[in-house]
């Protein structure tokens, strides 16, 4: 907001990213509830409608399913929509289109067309918004092949990653933690295009890896500071991209520190932390004695030739056990 020239607030980072991408490519459009005339309920997008006109930046009815599906259709037909679903708690209303339309299109169409679509949504609690306006629905989308999930922790990353999301050819859920909007950072020069799917080590350490994202990263940094005072050296890993997850960086950090704690803002059962544990665990015991088999990360194919091989079967189970137990 009133950050100085060389400061960047998280809120402005988002606006700048959208602004720059709207300017760079006339196929980019942006719509949502109260985003245009009013500039968004979190005051993130003022001025964009006036700058780019109602054809490219517009307010919509309160129709989350129509929003997400209209975005999908417009992407099929060549546009690069950015949609705001005000609170991520409302995403369930839009979920059918995201999961059954956008996420599957590239694969189902036999790679005729991908869906470059960004859904921005505010997540997270800690500010008294209560049970239906504070959720972090990451885990509920984590198992959707074809969807990317981005969740930045800092202003510069927010800008970098949102720009990358808009330029990505795939559907991306972009989560903005409400408690971060007002945070600021010294502005960094953005060079090149960020690649979605890479985590970031925000603090190096040797005794334990703390893994988190969004607001949790600051908590981990503060915990790391406290830990250093009692002689424990913590490495802090900011996932940034929940899907795809940076398995490599998780595993290499865990290989180094031999201890790893995941910090998630969300229910422990069925959360994304379990996914991180499973990934790290492959290092822990060399993948030997605690592992999973499932289908590959893509939609279920129709062709019997493909479908029959798609699922785990008695044979694949047998082979997998034989192989690991032979080691």
């Amino acid at each position: 907001m009133s950050a100085s020239q060389d400061e960047l607030s998280f809120r402005n980072a988002i606006r700048e990213a959208i602004d720059e991408e709207l300017a760079a490519d006339s196929d980019v459009i942006f719509f949502g509830e109260d985003v245009a005339e009013a500039g968004g309920v979190f005051a993130v997008t003022p001025g964009l409608r006036d700058k780019y006109g109602d054809e490219r930046v517009f307010d919509t009815p309160i129709s989350e399913l129509a929003l997400s599906s209209a975005a999908f259709g417009s992407a099929v037909a060549g546009l690069r929509p950015i949609v705001e679903i005000m609170f991520a708690d409302f995403l369930f209303l839009a979920m059918d289109s995201l999961v059954n339309q956008s996420a599957k299109y590239w694969y189902l169409s036999n790679e005729q067309k991908s869906i470059p679509l960004v859904v921005r949504s505010a997540v997270g609690g800690g500010i008294g918004f209560g049970p239906i306006h504070s959720q972090v629905p990451i885990s509920w989308f984590l198992g959707v092949p074809g969807l990317k999930i981005i969740a930045p922790s800092t202003a510069n990353d927010a800008k970098r990653l949102l720009k990358a999301a808009i330029r990505d050819e795939n559907p991306v859920l972009f989560f903005e933690h409400k408690a971060l909007y007002a945070t600021t950072e010294v502005r960094e020069e953005l060079t090149g295009q960020e690649i979605l799917g890479k985590a970031r080590i925000v603090r190096e350490g040797s005794d334990i890896t703390l893994v988190s994202c969004m607001k949790g990263v600051a908590d981990c940094l503060e915990a790391a500071r406290l830990l250093s005072e009692i002689g424990i050296s913590a490495e802090v890993l900011d996932l940034r991209s929940l899907r795809p997850m940076d398995n490599e960086m998780i595993q290499s950090s865990f290989s180094k520190t031999k201890s790893l704690l995941v910090v998630e803002e969300g229910p422990i059962t069925g959360g994304w932390a379990g996914e991180v544990i499973s990934i790290a665990n492959e290092v822990n015991n060399d993948g030997m004695k605690l592992w999973r088999i499932a289908t590959e990360d893509r939609p279920i194919p129709f062709s019997p030739a493909l479908e029959n091989e798609f699922y785990p079967s008695a044979t694949t189970i047998f082979e997998s056990v034989r192989e690991r137990h032979a080691r």
């Binding site: 919509t60 399913l65 259709g73 036999n110 092949p145 062709s303």
Partner: protein, 324 residues
């Protein structure tokens, strides 16, 4: 002459769809096609009539009952039949199957297995098409008008004045349930309440459909906003492969069979467009022969190898656009 030829082509298209569906049915019964299928037999005039008014830049979204829409729009019978069989040469490489066909080269955004999905897809496509003088068309059934997609998108399209045509094919049933049992009021009234231009048409006379289609495309293309069409029609076959069919009212099927779109078209070709019965027969036989060949070739088409599994993401990165 051209018009005459075009009229015969409408008939041929409908015969193609009917024959395609009969072929699917027989392959299904033989076990060559697996899963489930929803056939379009009886409704051919709707897709054929609307497709005849499409321009190259237009786009089409259809349902799981979409073979007819796909063929009418221009998807080749060979690639579609290959898809039914899950072959590598299928229009989606065998990944999609009967309910989810996509063929952008032929303007088909997709067939949508989720009721109402076609409506959302076409509404969105219209946002893009408005920029290039195109129109999107969504097909859906009488059952779909009770789905969230229909209502939210109809309002969205109306408010944004999008060039989209909503075609509700009222074939009297959603699966086994009569539409009036689950639908309050009249179907067209819902669009009228949103002040969307609306019309109910005879969906079994391809020329009646064509007339409404031309007017609708004109209206939408000229920036007047969406159009809603209720096309009255009937499906001659079961809802899907496992339809008990007990729900039909006595005599209903027979009555509609008298209004078979192929019979109506044949009659008008002869009575009004001066074709001889022999010419019409010959056209029909020609189509059927071609479908025979398609069928044979499909059965010989290769299956996708496992290497064709592909990736969940498009990996290519876009270049160009403004710098970071």
């Amino acid at each position: 002459m051209d018009t005459l030829k075009a009229n015969l082509e409408l008939f041929e298209k409908m015969v193609l769809i009917r024959t395609f569906e009969e072929t699917v049915q027989s392959l299904f019964q033989k076990g060559a096609i697996v899963g489930t299928t929803h056939l379009y037999s009886g409704q051919e005039a709707v897709a054929t009539g609307f497709a005849s008014a499409l321009q190259p830049q237009d786009l089409v979204a259809a349902t799981y009952r979409g073979h007819g829409h796909a063929l009418a729009t221009g998807v080749t019978p060979q690639s579609l039949m290959d898809e039914m069989l899950g072959r590598l040469t299928g229009v989606c490489g065998g990944r999609s199957g009967s309910m989810n066909v996509i063929d952008l080269e032929h303007r088909l955004i997709g067939c949508f297995g989720i009721i109402g999905g076609s409506i959302g897809a076409a509404t969105g496509a219209a946002i893009a098409l408005a920029r290039r003088n195109g129109v999107a068309i969504a097909y859906f059934g009488d059952g779909a008008i009770n789905q969230a997609y229909f209502y939210e998108c109809l309002n969205f399209a109306a408010v944004r004045k999008l060039p989209v045509i909503f075609v509700c094919e009222n074939n009297l049933y959603g699966e086994y349930t009569p539409w009036e049992d689950v639908t309050a009021g009249q179907i067209r009234a819902r669009a009228e309440a949103l002040e969307v231009k609306s019309e109910t048409i005879d969906g079994n006379d391809v020329w009646a459909v064509q007339k409404a289609a031309l007017a609708s495309f004109d209206y939408a293309r000229n920036g007047n906003g969406p159009v809603f069409i209720e096309a009255l029609t009937y499906r001659f076959v079961g809802h899907s492969r496992s339809d008990p069919g007990k729900y039909r009212k006595p005599g209903e099927l027979d009555a509609w069979k008298l209004r078979d779109p192929l019979i109506i078209a044949r009659k008008r070709l002869v009575d009004e467009f001066s074709f001889s019965p022999q010419e019409v027969d010959a056209a029909e036989a020609g189509v059927k022969k071609r479908m025979e060949e398609v069928r044979e070739q499909s059965l010989k088409a290769p299956s996708p190898g496992l290497k064709k599994l592909g990736s969940e993401f498009m990996e290519l990165k876009r270049t160009g656009g403004g710098g970071a």
